[in-house]
């Protein structure tokens, strides 16, 4: 059924498709894609991640830069569903606690009063924030009325909400991949197409440049370039730095796409539809953009999807080493720098949560990329 319709589509290309027994290619791709359960997990997981991260300031109970001097390295707020009347309910409670300095170890000790329950409430007023660039508010999804604050993942060395920073850091870490891949696609497809289409000297030079870039190990090269970026100041903001880091990441990544696209374009150059276009007097630009690019588009999408995890991992490694995203900006990698010393992690394991977020994001993107690769060629078995 599927095979015959595929043949009919190929035979009738350009003519009106009859209504019986035909499945357009786009639908074939979707059928194949949605059959893959892992891809569905990856896709849905990523959508949820992006929504949570996008609404981060609202979902988190505190402003990500608020420092709570009385709750340094504070553990996650304990929760219970057993109310003051001793019955299990849907209303979550936490306990009242107080902080005191242990005179012997000089560490803060948090005394939790297990008898006094404080209800956790929805839509509580707290730190003011601005979200998505246009929403100004101070209402948070979950919180505690009064002085006490709610820290679902504890606090870091400066008493800042790890959960809030995880969401704000995710905005950086999850967009690095997207922006970087956009740049990669632009650079890679322009260079690859030019190289494959015109050939000759242009092609030779381009191939040598790619070989040169590939003869360096990626992370050290990225690090060397990132080390040359100026420190954050009024003229060179965290946003500038973020953008230049993505440029650096895609500066290496475009080579892979360019090479594959060059091969594709060289293949198309021999094909009948390009010959026909040439014979009817189409310009180079028209042949490239109208005839070749649409054919290569599924390929480009697949390469792009498979490149995103590498970019996320690259940013994380750079920021972890102190060469990527720098404070006051925050990313998952820069959060993990706090977790470098073993004793710190052992005593405050919640500082490792950004690592879990990285692994999840990369995993979801890999599922998605794998499924896209299988689906892009719906006629294969």
């Amino acid at each position: 059924m599927v095979e015959t319709s595929a043949e009919t589509i190929a035979a009738d290309a350009g003519e009106e498709i009859s209504e019986v027994g035909e499945i357009p290619q786009s639908k074939l791709i979707w059928m194949r894609f949605s059959r893959n359960k892992l891809a569905l997990i990856g896709g849905v997981g990523l959508i949820i991640m992006y929504i949570i991260v996008g609404l981060g300031p609202f979902i988190a109970s505190n402003y990500y830069r608020h420092q709570n001097q009385d709750y340094l390295f504070g553990p996650p707020t304990p929760l219970t569903f057993i109310g003051p009347d001793g019955r299990l309910g849907l209303q979550p409670y936490t306990f009242e606690f107080s902080t005191r300095l242990d005179p012997e170890s000089f560490k803060f000790v948090f005394d939790i009063d297990r008898d006094t329950r404080v209800p956790l409430e929805l839509f509580v007023r707290g730190d003011p924030y601005s979200m998505l660039g246009f929403i100004e508010s101070d209402i948070h999804l979950l919180g505690i009325e009064g002085e006490q604050r709610f820290y679902p993942l504890g606090t870091d060395a400066l008493g800042r909400d790890v959960f809030a920073r995880l969401l704000i850091g995710g905005q950086v870490s999850l967009t690095v991949g997207l922006v970087g891949v956009a740049l990669t696609i632009i650079l890679g497809s322009v260079m690859g197409t030019i190289s494959g289409y015109f050939g000759g000297l242009v092609d030779d030079v381009m191939q040598r440049v790619i070989e040169l870039i590939l003869s360096f190990p990626t992370v050290p090269l990225w690090a060397a370039l990132a080390a040359a970026l100026p420190p954050i100041s009024r003229d060179f903001t965290a946003v500038h730095r973020f953008f230049l880091i993505t440029v650096i990441l895609s500066l290496v990544n475009w080579t892979g796409l360019a090479r594959q696209l060059r091969g594709k374009v060289m293949g198309y150059a021999e094909s009948d539809f390009v010959m026909a276009a040439l014979a009817s007097g189409a310009s180079d630009a028209r042949i490239i953009f109208v005839h070749m690019m649409p054919n290569a588009s599924s390929h480009i999408i697949v390469v792009a999807a498979l490149a995103i995890p590498g970019m996320i991992l690259g940013e994380t490694a750079l920021s972890f080493l102190g060469l990527g995203i720098l404070p006051p900006a925050v990313s998952w990698g820069s959060m993990l720098t706090q977790a470098q010393a073993v004793p710190v992690v052992v005593e405050h394991p919640w500082l490792m949560t950004p690592g879990i977020a990285v692994v999840l994001a990369v995993l979801f993107y890999s599922f998605l990329g794998d499924a896209l690769r299988d689906a892009a060629d719906p006629y294969s078995i």
């Binding site: 003869s215 690090a223 080390a227 040359a228 692994v359 990369v362 599922f367």
Partner: protein, 327 residues
């Protein structure tokens, strides 16, 4: 074959020239170099430092000269083993990097061998047991292995080893062997420490290579010559290992050249986390301190290692596959 190798060496030399240009570009990149900073602080100290010394420094690195002369001054030291001065450590770069580079290469090559050995076995197993529960389990592990950043794995393993076994991670030699001359006991001591970075580095590579191996072998198992071999009644183990696996290995060897950059990248990051006495910590320290002659030279030598690795991979491929002809 020999003429092919000679031609490849010629290409390598040309690439090498460009590699050093990139390396120099990196050295020149940061605004306000460590050298200028160094000279400034020398000037401020006044007394102890004679103007001659500063002038000698300026002449050595061609401060104030145009770029191409500065580049020439840097590169002309290479044949003599002079790669410039590390201002942070107050020692010549050449002195600092050799032993560290050696350990980086040792760990990288060992990782490559170990992870390939495991990956081929795992790949063959999951290809011959396709769609069974162990195969699914391996697939899940492969995905996770590729998704964990290697520095995170290093952190987790470091904590685990220290908490459960009290093992001191972050050394290559125990204290009593550090300055000891070469001996069997010293080698054993090295082996008992070096497996930690190898395991950490090997995870991603093993995951990736075993996936490729599985796909390759599945392709090959559909070939007619495999069917023919089976039809002739050859033992299944021999069919797999002699007929199928040998042919499934070629695409893998072709990716050898691409595997090495990843491993060296990983080694540099992981050794920084574990604080091993290899290139990693020194390289990143140099970058953060903008001690650029040290960082640039490291980068050039990483590239040299990769170029040599690529050449070796190509020669190996020729040995493995007689069908490949070199012009």
């Amino acid at each position: 074959m020999i003429s092919y190798i000679i031609r490849r060496l010629g290409y390598m030399l040309i690439t090498l020239v460009f590699v050093t240009i990139v390396g120099f570009f990196i050295i020149e990149l940061p605004p306000g170099s460590y050298l200028e900073f160094h000279i400034q602080s020398l000037r401020q100290q006044g007394g102890d430092v004679t103007p001659d010394q500063i002038q000698a420094l300026e002449r050595r690195y061609g401060l104030g000269d145009p770029v191409h002369i500065r580049f020439y001054k840097w590169i002309s030291g290479f044949p003599r083993g002079d790669f410039g001065q590390s201002f942070q450590h107050q020692r010549p770069v050449g002195e600092l990097i050799w032993s560290r580079l050696g350990y980086t290469l040792l760990i990288s090559v060992a990782t490559l061998i170990v992870s390939w050995g495991i990956a081929i076995l795992v790949g063959v197993y999951s290809a011959t047991h396709r769609y069974t529960i162990p195969d699914y389990l391996i697939t899940v592990l492969q995905f996770i292995g590729l998704a964990i950043p290697n520095f995170l794995l290093a952190l987790v393993l470091m904590i685990f080893l220290q908490q459960t076994f009290g093992m001191r991670v972050g050394v290559l030699f125990s204290r009593e062997f550090r300055d000891a001359p070469f001996s069997i006991a010293k080698m054993i001591d090295l082996l008992s420490n070096i497996w930690v970075p190898i395991v950490i580095l090997g995870v991603a590579g093993t995951a990736w290579t075993s996936r490729v191996m599985r796909a390759n072998l599945l392709d090959v198992l559909n070939m007619q010559y495999v069917q023919t071999a089976r039809a002739k009644g050859i033992h299944e183990r021999k069919v797999i290992w002699k007929h199928a696996v040998r042919n499934a290995l070629h695409p893998l060897v072709m990716t050898l050249g691409m595997a090495l950059p990843g491993i060296i990248s990983g080694e540099v990051v992981v050794s920084t986390v574990l604080n091993l006495p290899t290139s990693g910590p020194l390289f990143f320290q140099a970058l953060i301190q903008q001690d650029m002659y040290l960082a640039g030279t490291f980068l050039v030598f990483f590239a040299v290692a990769l170029l040599v690795g690529n050449l070796l991979a190509d020669i190996m491929l020729a040995g493995l596959d007689p069908r490949i002809q070199y012009r």
